[in-house]
């Protein structure tokens, strides 16, 4: 880059200093746009990231086999019990799979607070392997613990049954389960809540009553008891957990040769009585939905940035009109068009960088205020702040180059003669 070009850019910066109020107002516009960008991007992409991370803990290497969640009155109920569990184990033999049967029932549980409806899951000691979730407190029950000898609560269930008690304080307490004939069952552990946005989920989970028991298990409002607590041979699901993705694919292929896969867009009249459900596909599909939500967030900040761009461009256009004489004189002094554009672009970029940097604390403040009044997880994320400053620079360049090119394109003699006349 030539010295003249640097000189032009320096002149641009000096021009900004000569008009501090005007420059400050332009920078403030950028700052507001950047504050909005930082917040919206942090909210939408931050939530998307969190939800994806949560979903990854829901058992990516688990395949569920069970009755189709299908409402078809009059149709005979498909047999699904210990024989099918044994069949599933036989099909995936040699793949290092763990087969975990699940029996579910709706029940009412009472602890220190009011009784609450929960999903009762009768499972084996291997059940934690179907998920990637740690215990928040205590332990899982052992093979030796049978019947109603012990139970584990989901963290959200523990909060509902023992309000005001930390997870660590729940093991050792007892819960009364209506499914157990109202007997009290000792709590031995609390499974950590894998849902970052539990409060938000609870507030808007209006369709919870429409979910089946099997569908409700992954809402993590459960009470887990040893598998023989529910004295039946009937099963809700069989979980098949694989050690890695390659063996997951092989197990899926083998299981789908016995029972069909359930498609998300299946025609209900053709859904088979027993299906194979691959959690990885579900997690990816769900992740895709949250990503679509993040894309909608993009629309908001792009709209705000576009509005800012249009307004700053208008301001620059008017400002540069006032400076046609100055541009003409500079052109007469030997400045090339590129020098004029560089000067104005330098002004635009400097304004937007300052505006962008001002926008970061403004964004931080906005995140604090919005987080309190909207109760959404607005947060200030430095990674997205970098993106926002880059957007700001682009905004400044875009909104200054167009009017600058127009000014530089005018013939100096025409401008000055009009002035003199």
């Amino acid at each position: 880059m030539s010295r003249a070009l640097f000189g032009a850019m320096g002149e641009g910066l000096r021009h900004l200093a000569r008009h501090p109020l005007r420059s400050a107002l332009a920078a403030l516009t950028c700052a507001v746009a950047i504050a909005v960008t930082v917040n919206v991007v942090s909210l939408s992409y931050g939530m998307d990231e969190d939800i994806r991370r949560d979903l990854a803990r829901f058992g990516r290497l688990t395949i569920d086999v069970g009755r189709a969640p299908l409402l078809r009155p009059g149709a005979p109920r498909a047999a699904f019990g210990d024989a099918e569990a044994a069949r599933a184990a036989e099909v995936v033999a040699g793949l290092g799979a763990t087969v975990v049967p699940l029996r579910t029932e709706r029940t009412t549980a009472a602890g220190a607070g009011a009784p609450a409806p929960v999903v009762l899951c009768a499972v084996g000691a291997d059940y934690p392997r179907t998920l990637s979730i740690d215990l928040a407190a205590g332990r899982w029950f052992t093979e030796a613990e049978r019947g109603w000898a012990a139970c584990v609560l989901d963290e959200s269930t523990a909060r509902a049954l023992f309000p005001g008690t930390a997870a660590a304080g729940v093991p050792g307490r007892r819960v009364r389960l209506s499914a157990a004939g109202d007997r009290e069952v000792p709590v031995v552990g609390v499974l950590a809540d894998p849902m970052t946005y539990r409060a938000l989920f609870e507030a808007f989970d209006e369709g919870r009553g429409a979910r089946t028991l099997v569908g409700s298990v992954l809402s993590f409002r459960n009470v887990y008891v040893p598998q023989d607590a529910l004295g039946t041979r009937d099963l809700s699901l069989v979980h098949v957990v694989l050690p890695d993705e390659a063996r997951l694919d092989e197990a899926r292929r083998r299981l789908e040769a016995v029972w069909p896969a359930v498609g998300l867009d299946a025609d209900p009249s053709r859904v088979a009585p027993v299906n194979v459900f691959v959690r990885r596909a579900w997690i990816d599909a769900f992740g895709g939905t949250t990503q679509a939500g993040a894309m909608l967030g993009n629309l908001v900040w792009v709209l705000v940035c576009l509005v800012a761009c249009v307004m700053i461009s208008t301001l620059n256009l008017l400002t540069i009109r006032e400076r046609y004489d100055e541009v003409a004189v500079r052109r007469c002094e030997g400045a090339r068009r590129a020098h004029v554009v560089a000067q104005v672009a330098a002004e635009g970029v400097a304004t937007s960088v300052v505006g962008g940097l001002l926008g970061l604390p403004l964004g931080f403040l906005g995140a604090e205020v919005l987080g309190r009044i909207v109760e959404l997880p607005f947060r200030f994320d430095l990674r997205f702040a970098g993106v926002a400053v880059a957007v700001s620079v682009a905004l400044g360049l875009l909104s200054s180059v167009v009017p600058a090119r127009r000014a530089a394109g005018l013939h100096p003699a025409a401008v000055l003669s009009r002035r003199l006349s």
């Binding site: 005007r22 107002l25 332009a26 403030l28 516009t29 507001v32 746009a33 504050a35 909005v36 069970g66 009755r67 189709a68 969640p69 299908l70 409402l71 009155p73 149709a75 109920r77 029932e105 709706r106 009412t108 409806p117 507030a203 209006e206 369709g207 009553g209 429409a210 979910r211 089946t212 028991l213 569908g215 529910l230 039946t232 009937d234 809700s236 699901l237 867009d265 299946a266 209900p268 859904v271 579900w282 599909a285 769900f286 939905t289 709209l303 705000v304 509005v307 307004m311 461009s313 208008t314 301001l315 256009l317 008017l318 400002t319 006032e322 919005l370 009044i373 909207v374 109760e375 959404l376």
Partner: protein
């Protein structure tokens, strides 16, 4: 009168540079639009649900046995009574409740004298009321009649008429070898009602087919092989059988959320595991759970309006400099500082009113677009006049405020100084 003259002058100046004025107004336009359209959708839907909740299914709860629990106990008539009593004990107005057993007869029923119903729904004689249906002709069935009687839905009645017979008095095959005499015809459902499922979604809407339907399955909502519900081709007959496949319930829309919880609790206490369907969006709208999102649009409104104010102030300062000679001449002609100040403030106000009105139009467009993309059948929008005037008022105050600094500068400059400079 001077104010009027100033306003006329301001409008002329804005009209003189329409593109510039339009560009300057972008902040106000979008600020007002984003503040307006979510309120338009929420208020419109709230009014629609409260005014015609029956038409959009906002007053209905449909309950079935959860097919995924172990050893499920089937629903029976005792459950219907228990639910009705529990709701009554909680003071919920039960508009109608019924339990029906569903028989889907084979399409080619031997000996069928005419069209075969999509499903035969056996329950209380007036069970159809719990689905929001009403008699258009005839009467309800007599449970004690020697020959089975049926009340048929609108489309099935039309098909019976198409065979050349009157619908009333015709016979339909019940699928179990019996024939029922038609004694009543139900008012036909609207096309939208025929497309709407128990969760309130328009099943033909492309967004439902492409996104929402899959999302529901992802969320654990069961597949429903219940297309018969939307055909308007069912026959309703009386039955004393204890079996219940579906429990239909109608309560006021504002009571739906609480009633659904009561149904779940009541059935749970009776050892039944059920799934209950109702449109999930309406309770969120009616109970104002979505109001927290109004603050997001308020924040965007503030952001857009702030940008608008800042840029309008900056442009105003530039204009004050450029129009200094004009202002000086005006002052020499006898205008006071107050006149100049007023003229500039009125210009700012007129600019903001124009932006606000355009913002209303854009807001309406966004609301219309939002509703077009919404598969929930009862969602609509309505222009929220009080909210619209409030946003417009704020936009005008901000616009006038932004004009204040340039106005003061323009008014403060001595005319001689400005004219000498020129």
């Amino acid at each position: 009168m001077r104010w009027l003259e100033n306003a006329r002058l301001a409008v002329r100046r804005l009209a003189h540079r329409p593109v510039r004025s339009f560009l300057l107004l972008q902040g106000t336009i979008w600020g007002v639009a984003v503040a307006l359209f979510p309120t338009a959708v929420v208020e419109g839907t709230r009014a629609s649900v409260l005014e015609r909740g029956e038409d959009v299914g906002a007053d209905r709860i449909t309950v079935a046995l959860d097919p995924t629990g172990v050893d499920p106990e089937p629903l029976d008539r005792g459950d219907v009574v228990a639910v009705r009593d529990a709701l009554g004990a909680e003071g919920v107005v039960v508009e109608a409740i019924a339990g029906v057993a569903v028989v889907v007869p084979p399409a080619a029923t031997a000996g069928a004298p005419g069209p075969v119903p999509a499903a035969v729904l056996a329950g209380e004689p007036d069970a159809f009321v719990a689905r929001g249906l009403r008699l258009a002709a005839g009467r309800t069935v007599d449970a004690a009649a020697a020959q089975p009687e049926a009340v048929v839905e609108g489309v099935l009645a039309d098909e019976l008429v198409a065979t050349g017979a009157a619908a009333l008095g015709a016979t339909v095959a019940l699928g179990d070898g019996r024939l029922a005499r038609v004694v009543g015809v139900l008012a036909p459902r609207t096309p939208l009602q025929r497309r709407t499922n128990d969760l309130g979604f328009d099943t033909d809407h492309p967004v439902f087919r492409g996104v929402t339907g899959r999302l529901l399955v992802n969320l654990g909502v069961p597949f429903g092989d219940d297309g018969w519900k939307r055909t308007d081709r069912c026959a309703w007959v009386a039955s004393a059988s204890p079996t219940v496949d579906w429990l239909f319930l109608r309560v006021p829309p504002l009571s739906v959320r609480g009633a659904a919880r009561t149904v779940e609790r009541t059935l749970l206490a009776r050892g039944k595991s059920s799934v209950a369907f109702y449109p999930p969006v309406y309770p969120l709208v009616l109970h104002r759970d979505l109001d927290r999102f109004a603050n997001v649009s308020l924040a965007l409104f503030v952001a857009c309006l702030s940008m608008s104010a800042v840029v309008m102030a900056a442009v105003g300062l530039l204009t004050a400099m450029r129009r200094a000679p004009e202002v000086a001449v005006h002052r020499v002609e006898g205008a006071t500082k107050g006149d100049v100040l007023a003229q500039w403030l009125v210009e700012g106000g007129v600019l903001s009113v124009a932006g606000g009105l355009l913002g209303w139009a854009v807001g309406c467009g966004l609301a219309e677009l939002r509703i077009a993309l919404e598969p929930m059948a009862g969602m609509t929008w309505r222009f929220p006049w009080p909210h619209a005037f409030a946003t417009l008022a704020v936009a005008v105050v901000v616009g006038v405020g932004a004009a204040l600094l340039p106005a003061m500068r323009a008014a403060a400059r001595p005319p001689t100084e400005a004219l000498v400079d020129e």
